[in-house]
Symmetry: C2
Subunit: 205 residues, 2 copies
């Protein structure tokens, strides 16, 4: 474990490394140099070595990284070795697509509860999970001991949904509503706002 | 126009400010201090002032920002005043949700073409747009003079789709496939990988 806090931007790159390592393993590769990995992820080899050095020694000088070992170590660092239950709030077009997205469960994020406030949806199933009334959000989170929530409700509802999540014990929120959420210290929020990403790129055109 | 290159991280915050300004206008507010804006977006007032200072003077000391004027100026800086045509490749669950997402057109990103390689989908309409054969990607981009692409295909297909986009003239790619794309200098890619965001947050639990 690192003695100094690791910059969040470094933590943010670890999943990118992990993603590339998984692809490499799928291609039956076993060892990779920081240079090759860097080319795969568009990050310099020096940056990769510096990022990993926060967590100790990985691989021997000149012999490259053992891919499976590095993958296991990064999973340990990120605390993603075990499966985690996730609640998804808002089952509109986007929530529906997210409920069917296989990538979450494959990486250990199992959506165990779906909630919506639309009476026409409550009780129907999506991908084998019955949609519950949004009014049951707090009890659902507590019962299932959920720490991770995906918010895919409208901008108007997002803050109040987040408030309930936090009150019930959620510590990590993936927010698809295009609004900055106010959460207490100790709760993390990551934002997915495709429009903001598009706007950002337009500057360079 | 700034004389020195503006750090990309600053450019990345401008859409966040814009989003908050739009919400403020919708609430009939007209003026806001950097402190209030900072609270809204979880960014310090000093950071906001510093970010904006790259682009000149905004508002008078002590009187706050005129929200509509700042919004117009940020749109000008990001070059998002005019509508831009967008091509969406991959109309699976996610692509379907994106094709229906109203947020793109509302902010000037109009999806004008949908493409897929599934014969069962080609020719069918989604949100009023007929799905074309993915083989027509290059001609579609050229004909419609498209510079912006949203890639929502599988990991295996993403790089080859990106290659065609770039060859046809695309300069900005929003990539939903969980793979790092290789693109030439001058082409921007932004990644939307919800699993990577979830993994990043787990570190802090």
């Amino acid at each position: 474990m690192p003695t100094n806090p690791v910059p969040d931007i470094v933590i943010g790159r670890l999943p990118i490394y992990l993603r590339a390592l998984a692809h490499l393993l799928a291609q039956n590769k076993h060892v990779i140099s920081s240079e090759e990995l860097g080319q795969r992820v568009n990050i310099s080899a020096a940056q990769i070595r510096k990022d990993l050095s926060y967590f100790g020694e990985f691989g021997k000088q000149g012999s490259g990284y053992n891919i499976a070992a590095l993958q296991a170590e990064l999973c340990r660092i990120l605390k993603i070795e075990k499966e985690r239950p996730v609640v998804l709030i808002g089952v509109g077009d986007l929530g529906h697509a997210l409920a069917y997205y296989g990538g979450f469960a494959k990486e250990g994020f199992r959506i165990v509860a779906l909630l919506d406030n639309d009476p026409a949806k409550i009780g129907t199933e999506v991908n084998g999970i019955a949609i519950k009334d949004a009014g049951q959000l707090e009890t659902t989170i507590k019962e299932k001991n959920i720490q991770t929530a995906i918010i895919a409700v409208s901008v108007d509802a997002a803050q109040s949904v987040a408030d309930v999540c936090v009150r019930a014990g959620v510590k990590a929120i993936l927010n698809y509503a295009s609004i900055t959420l106010s959460v207490p210290e100790g709760v993390r929020v990551q934002y997915i706002d495709p429009v903001a990403y598009l706007q950002r790129m337009m500057y360079y055109l």
